[in-house]
Subunit: 357 residues, 2 copies
């Protein structure tokens, strides 16, 4: 499926985000008295997928803890949803991939676990977690609370529909934080990078050029207008995601009246950063339009396809659904090929360090 370095390009953006998270994580770790405590050091990756992008970060965290507390056992737990490919995760961490070096080869007294419990629930017993991190996972809502009838993503929602999804997203964020407040030991730290709307109004795929979600919406809307999909199918299509502003992210942690603040979580730092789209960067260098068009859109497809295909009527034959989705992404490729100017999926993240008092 991936060729000519596209696989590396596909993951390199996520890797850069994790590397940014890593700098903050190691600083935050220094604030924890790892040598002065009894019991195992408990570490977690919330929303880990196959663990590949975070493996170097975990290596650095374990190396840091081990250097300061040589005899302390370290437990590393990867969390995700039940449907995640944990077999791929364990295979990678236990050294089953020749292309990935696992930290387990370097350290003993390190124990790896997985949890299939949602981060909208408690994942660890009260006050047992020393350090947690999460990269690009918490924009997924617990559920979609309502429709977005004239767009496919909350970034294009408006009026009452926007307020419903925003209200739900803020409650979801509070739930995530309250559960982490329960789990963290006093003095524990949480380092998170999440998609956001930054101080300049930028967000994923909307950093000054062509707006990616508006493009998704325009092309999907076009399929409704030409009768390929029904109006009902168009209207129920929506990513179960919400990109919060910096203020929305920080408020529960800085407002002394919030339940999260009262539960003991405090904001240590917050900053936004943009990681440039690696496909657009390569195109800027090599001006290879064909390669850009046929590699940029597939990377969007990897994380967006299920949203569009699941919105199609279940009564449609499987092949018909596949054909519609194929046509949809082909129209995106055609658009990029016709005029590549401004197409880019730059990552816009907020990086937060949170402590438990």
């Amino acid at each position: 499926m991936w060729g000519g370095g596209d696989y590396s390009l596909h993951t390199i953006g996520a890797k850069h985000v994790i590397d940014n998270t890593g700098e903050l994580a190691l600083e935050a770790l220094d604030a924890i008295d790892v040598a002065g405590q009894a019991g195992s050091f408990q570490l977690a990756d919330f929303g880990a997928a196959d663990g590949g992008t975070s493996i170097d970060l975990v290596r650095r965290i374990i190396g840091n803890v081990r250097a300061r507390a040589p005899s302390r056992a370290i437990c590393m737990t990867y969390t995700d949803l039940p449907r995640n490919d944990y077999s791929a995760l364990f295979n990678l961490v236990h050294g089953g991939r020749p292309d990935v070096k696992s930290y387990l080869e370097e350290h003993d007294n390190v124990f790896v676990y997985a949890s299939g419990t949602s981060f909208y629930l408690p994942i660890f017993p009260a006050q047992t977690l020393d350090f947690g991190f999460s990269a690009t996972a918490m924009h997924w809502l617990s559920r979609l609370p309502g429709r977005i009838t004239d767009h496919v993503h909350a970034v294009g929602a408006s009026g009452e529909e926007l307020e419903v999804i925003r209200g739900h997203a803020l409650a979801d964020w509070e739930t995530i934080l309250l559960n982490r407040a329960l789990e963290l030991k006093p003095g524990g730290r949480l380092v998170m990078s999440n998609f956001c709307i930054d101080e300049q109004g930028r967000y994923l795929g909307n950093t000054g050029g062509v707006n990616m979600f508006d493009t998704f919406n325009r092309l999907w809307r076009g399929l409704a207008e030409d009768g390929t999909i029904s109006e009902a199918e168009y209207q129920i299509t929506a990513f179960p995601q919400f990109y919060k502003t910096v203020e929305e992210y920080c408020a529960p942690l800085t407002d002394p009246g919030s339940v999260v603040h009262q539960a003991g979580l405090r904001l240590e730092s917050a900053q936004t950063r943009v990681v440039p789209c690696p496909y657009a960067a390569r195109f800027a260098e090599d001006a290879n339009l064909e390669r850009f068009a046929v590699s940029y859109v597939p990377t969007l497809r990897t994380w967006s396809e299920t949203v569009f295909s699941n919105s199609l009527d279940a009564a449609r034959p499987e092949q018909e659904r596949r054909d519609i989705v194929e046509r949809f992404y082909r129209s995106y490729v055609d658009l990029v090929r016709a005029d590549p100017t401004g197409h880019a999926m730059d990552y816009v993240h907020i990086y937060m360090v949170v402590s438990k008092v």
Copy 2:
């Protein structure tokens, strides 16, 4: 694949073994002072597969612990190899299967994890495990240490070949126990059911009737004799398993000179039991020969097929390998159909309760 209640029959034997284990487990649990200890109660299933057969046992253990220590958190960790289907496991435990009721619906403050670490290694930090159980898992060797040139299973090995595999199996058993000795808290318990050779020389598929492993061997040998497979393929075929005798199972736990005994593990009880083959039991009732032949052999096939197919030369085309394996099992069905007398895969287990001083 399964019809007419065959799926239930297929799992009911394993379920009976777990139920036998359960009685012992609940007795053993009573010996642990669950209310008098701080921290989470740590529970483990070693070699859990999809967690389905043990779910009622876990429910009973959690209910027992919760009744005696209402506010204590309980952590349940399922262990298996990296390639295990953890997604199926988490789906089942998190209530994703309408046919299975999970204990998570009944109790809060219970946390579920998985580990992909082999039980030939430490899976938990030192002295953190309160209670572990394992059902029908520890007959799998860490590796096959040598060939069994004139049979397909250690039960048919002899001479030097038998001694090599026996020596390896006893060392493997010591490794399993030493790692559990490290993990268990003082006073902790381990309850295990494992395939064995019982006091009467019986073992899986050899309880007085036709010997199942001898049948496998005779039919596979026949394929070598008629040229379907090569002599080399026949000779390298061997289950990476060993069924220990009662004495071999117990010696490391009762001999004060053994490293396992010195590491603090003690045998509380050991007993053997035979769980009758449910297919043979149904055939004894309904005398439906055709149904017996076409349902009994497939259940053998589920756990034995990879051993035979992986022994075929990798240079053979995939379809050719499939055809050979198909022919092999068809010959077993023909044999049963021609004379069903004595065909049965009765389970022969040793049930052990072990404590840590």
